[in-house]
Symmetry: C2
Amino acid sequence: MGATKTEHFTSKQNSIATIAKALGHPARVAILEYLMKVDSCICGDIVNELPLAQPTISQHLKELKNAGLIKGNIEGNAICYCVDEKTIARMLQYLEAINQKIEMKKLKCC
Amino acid sequence: MGATKTEHFTSKQNSIATIAKALGHPARVAILEYLMKVDSCICGDIVNELPLAQPTISQHLKELKNAGLIKGNIEGNAICYCVDEKTIARMLQYLEAINQKIEMKKLKCC
DNA sequence: AATCTTTATTGTAATATTGCAATATAAAAT
DNA sequence: ATTTTATATTGCAATATTACAATAAAGATT
């Protein structure tokens, strides 16, 4: 059929996948990195920085926001976007747990 | 057009996105978790474990392999798949770096 | 109030992903 | 040698994603 069978997986699996999926596009990785680099973080800057049209960037920002990776505050007619540390931390902890398990069992196979 | 403009981003951004994208599906997260849980890691087991058809799982395994998240050894007529710790570590380090930067600048905006 | 600036939304075309039935491949067991 | 077991590939339909032009919305500036 073509649609992800979300309902067959745990909510944790789905939520990790959602975060990872949002990180799964180089433009969104670049946006995150840019938001980290500058102190003021306004969409217009990003449009000047990246080789993508303004609607495309707006859409990528929306996806990052839906996944909880960034948050945005309205400041006058501009919007201040910045990285949401909680979601980064969640993903980080997940990978740390995997990493620890790998070290513990030290590859019985492969 | 619809195709990701890979060429406009750095190879690091693309490679992080590739790893994240492979993690960006709950079935692939579940496969990774299953590979971690069991000691023997053979595709047939995964088919019994997950509510997806064998070709679908085979395809997900291929994508995880292409992204470097798992590696597979042929063992007789079965294949022993397991998590590739190097790629997990790369993603982990990337997120750790972001996390540290966030802590350093402690949110000048938002 | 008219205009400018900044961001979002809509519509649409191109492309990619997801999922599976059917089939292929290849080693193991009989 | 045939059959069984384990995995991969092909082909295809359904759906999702990516990108952008055109347009809308909403606060700021004049």
